[in-house]
């Protein structure tokens, strides 16, 4: 794995001589594909140009991002912060978060977000073939719920017809290859990496979009209401920067592939395998996107992990608020 070797590392950028005038903004981010726009913004110096000094903390676990936002230790979560967990946190602390971007994949739009990963010679082609087998998914209630929902949609009882094993992302390919499980429901780039090794394949592409909503977004860009209220001008600049970076990433994804190796676990020789995620900037967000987000919220509510109904629309930042 190639970690960043350059000095413009992800932690702080204090290289500018006019640092004194700059607004300091703290970001908590996850090292995943969906965060690409943030990497682009850092690489292209967009924050600096906007007069913003970024202090960023990298986390492996989306919960820590939410914790750091709630505690006021961070101002915003760049694209890729967990969309589902944001909803769950907002339900507990209404009025804390505003979403200003969504990231994921879609069947129609042809961006890959997730896949059902199996061995190359596996007879499994869909969830229906999993009866009596073992499926792996990500640890925690969010993905357990999504998996159970999809299984039920496929006519399987997740408690009786098969075993659902929750396992850390790093174990997914290993478990499939070693035969510990028959399939995994994995987020990108697991599928791409599995494919690149030739040890596994995608039996299904974007199954979550297929069964919940197409497109499907698992990532979101969020900022705290506190940040927005206390420093609205800075918040606006941050959103503009991310918007611009998202545009750049979407238009010229291949150009930015090499920087993925610097910010994520992906190795330089793997950057060309990984698939492009669907990145929606603040200005892009439309009704279809919001409906998709709503569909995820509804699944959570149906499965009982969200105590009350919530409107995706209310979570999304309103253009008027930025004035």
């Amino acid at each position: 794995t190639n970690q960043s070797t350059s000095t413009t590392s992800s932690s702080t950028s204090t290289s500018s001589p006019s640092a004194s005038k700059k607004e300091k903004v703290i970001a908590s981010w996850l090292p995943i594909m969906q965060t690409t726009a943030y990497y682009v913004a850092l690489e292209e110096g967009l924050f600096e140009k906007a007069g913003i000094e970024i202090e960023s903390a990298k986390f492996e676990n989306p919960n820590q991002i939410i914790d750091s936002l709630v505690s006021g230790r961070a101002d915003f979560g760049p694209p890729g912060a967990a969309a589902g967990i944001t909803v769950l946190a907002e339900a507990k602390a209404p009025g804390t978060f505003k979403v200003f971007g969504l990231q994921g994949g879609g069947i129609k739009s042809n961006f890959i977000n997730d896949g059902l990963i199996v061995k190359p010679d596996s007879p499994i082609q869909s969830f229906k073939d999993l009866k009596g087998k073992k499926i792996g998914t990500l640890p925690g209630i969010q993905w357990r719920t999504i998996t159970q929902y999809i299984l039920r949609r496929n006519g399987l009882d997740p408690d009786r017809d098969l075993t659902v094993e929750q396992m850390a992302v790093g174990l997914h390919v290993t478990s499939v290859v070693s035969g510990a499980v028959d399939a995994t429901l994995s987020l990108e780039p697991v599928g791409s990496i599995a494919l690149s090794t030739g040890q596994a394949k995608r039996a299904m592409t974007n199954p979550v979009a297929m069964f919940i909503s197409d497109p499907f977004y698992s990532g979101a860009a969020v900022l705290t209401a506190k940040f927005l209220k206390e420093r609205p001008a800075v918040a606006k600049k941050v959103i503009q920067v991310i918007d611009e970076a998202t545009k750049m990433a979407n238009q010229n994804f291949d150009k930015y592939r090499p920087i993925l190796a610097k910010y994520t676990a992906i190795k330089p020789d793997q950057v060309n395998y990984v698939t492009q995620p669907r990145l929606r900037s603040f200005s892009d967000l439309d009704r279809a996107d919001i409906n998709s987000y709503q569909a995820l919220i509804d699944v959570f509510q149906k499965e009982g992990i969200l105590g009350r109904s919530m409107k995706a629309q209310n979570l999304i930042l309103e253009k008027a608020q930025l004035a």
């Binding site: 709630v70 075993t163 174990l171 290993t174 510990a180």
Partner: protein, 224 residues
């Protein structure tokens, strides 16, 4: 001062704890984690004490394994989990094995050190009475090391619990307190999370108290 969402009040936490106790699903997670921890701890003890005594008594042998011992003591059990996955599969047992391994290292290390630091006079006395090495292990070194062994057991019982929880949290599992903690974390139900953490801590405390009771009952000669 601090956001009560992040740091719920003790009352709220205890209320949640009590509610979960009576609503029933806490017991399932609690007992599953307890079962896994005790299973792991049992393996760790059964393998740790005898091997610790034997290696501690053969300082030469111990020194030649020292690299491996210190190596594994310093590597997170969760990092070597892929190895356990390959050997034991994905089921419960691989997580138990990881915790047992971590606990075993602690028990083994403490017992071996206890033996190496033991006063030699009593061993020598047994030797002169014609006791075989085997008898000396059983009758003298074992007892001589017992206070240290108990420190090891208590460290290990807490550690196996910790590893089980961490495995349940980060490697993933079906049910268990670790699962419960991470679920609460993900649903941002920090009251539930702290309630679950408290339940876990109480489990650890209870296990430790059990040892303390045994220790106080049997090791009457400490400090004499």
């Amino acid at each position: 001062m601090v956001n009560p969402l992040l740091l719920p009040t003790p009352q709220a936490t205890l209320t949640t704890l009590l509610n979960s106790l009576f609503s029933g699903d806490l017991w399932r997670d609690f007992s599953l984690t307890l079962y896994r921890s005790l299973y792991a701890f049992g393996i760790a003890t059964v393998l740790g004490i005898p091997i610790g005594i034997v290696l501690g008594a053969n300082e030469h042998l111990y020194r030649s394994c020292e690299f491996l011992i210190d190596f594994f003591r310093s590597t997170p059990a969760t990092a070597v989990f892929p190895l356990f996955l390959v050997i034991f599969g994905i089921g419960d047992f691989s997580k138990i094995a990881v915790a047992a391994f971590a606990g075993w290292l602690i028990i083994f290390f403490n017992v071996a050190y206890g033996v190496m630091n033991a006063r030699k006079t009593r061993i020598v006395a047994a030797k002169v009475m014609g006791a075989s090495s085997w008898r000396i292990f059983l009758d003298v070194i074992f007892f001589e090391t017992l206070p240290q062994t108990f420190i090891g057991l208590r460290t290990a019982v807490s550690l196996t619990l910790v590893v089980i929880i961490v495995a349940e949290m980060f490697i993933g599992s079906t049910h268990g307190m670790g699962q419960r903690i991470i679920d609460a974390q993900q649903t941002f139900d920090l009251t539930q999370m702290y309630a679950s953490i408290i339940a876990t801590g109480v489990m650890g405390y209870a296990l430790n108290q059990m040892f303390l009771l045994i220790e106080n009952k049997f090791i009457h000669w400490k400090g004499k």
